[in-house]
Point group: C2
Chain length 157, copies 2
DNA sequence: ACAACTTCTTAATATAGATTAATGCTTGCC
DNA sequence: GGCAAGCATTAATCTATATTAAGAAGTTGT
């Protein structure tokens, strides 16, 4: 468990790496994402200050997710051991499950425009800090589709 | 914490109910699902024998999910209290997070046919037991689209 | 055994979002 | 300053899936 500073663009974890670390964000911004067979990125979550970013798979298995640095950041690296996990704050786990549950429901039942509305409500601080293409990736649409959605939102108002 | 038997079709929990129960399935089959503004159901998860079905939101908040009974079942009802939650087996929570993480990645990066392939691999016992339209709802597609996908799968082989 | 449902499938049409491509920004670099 | 590279936007076309509709097959109740 050590504190490190990392530069924008640095990759902390790759798909296939042994899953044995978690990252607590003190300052800055991380993201985790997967890359599909076609080479397309899908952002799984953003990690601003105060969040923990990690691959929530059984420890020791190969990771599904990439984790990299969007803004210069200070982070605490935790070596995950089985014992460490047992000590994890249970409430945090429940919160994570709750967020994921909502995300699945949203991915299944909402259109691109509804997902975008929900995103800017939920993460107003992040909207300002990441490029459009990353927001599109988080929403599960292309940057072009996002651009269209935003245009429609403005003309409607 | 009591054991009860419930009949097919019975609704155990509705959206908006106070979230304070969890259901352990001893035998039979439950499902949890949400209903969107258009009245469309989206199945969130199936609960065959051995599974726990619950709304994983903070205790005391209104539920997002419906839970109902697909096959006559015997279930154990747990009253969730904050203390009860603390005793929850942490490994089970991690497993749940891991499943959700994979589900989100899949919803974002896979086509209907890939999601169907994945589903029958992951839940071979459930495929046989639930009507097609519920599988479609779990996959996030319409029954019509699922029917097409299955047709294409067979002719390709 | 029949009527009334519900489910599954097939087909025609419609649509959201993907793909492709072109254009005009910024931003960094020599 | 000028050029190259990446990013956002717009538009044209394409495609997977939704929607609608209708019929066949299966199920349930009386």
């Amino acid at each position: 468990m050590k504190e490190i500073t990392v530069k924008k663009g640095q990759i902390l974890q790759r798909t296939g790496d042994l899953n044995n670390k978690a990252y607590i964000v003190k300052s800055g911004l991380l993201r985790s994402y997967s890359i599909d067979e076609k080479g397309k990125e899908h952002i799984f979550m953003f990690g601003p200050e105060g969040w923990i970013i990690s691959d929530y798979l059984p420890v020791g298995q190969p990771c599904d997710l990439f984790i990299d640095v969007i803004e210069d950041s200070t982070i605490i690296v935790i070596e995950k051991t089985y014992e460490e996990i047992k000590k994890a704050e249970v409430e945090k786990l429940f919160r994570r499950i709750s967020v994921l549950q909502k995300r699945v429901i949203m991915l299944m039942s909402s259109s691109a425009i509804e997902r975008y509305e929900h995103f800017i409500e939920t993460y107003p601080q992040i909207v300002q800090r990441v490029p459009q293409r990353m927001i599109a990736s988080y929403l599960g649409i292309t940057p072009e589709a996002l651009s269209k959605v935003k245009g429609e939102r403005i003309t409607k108002k």
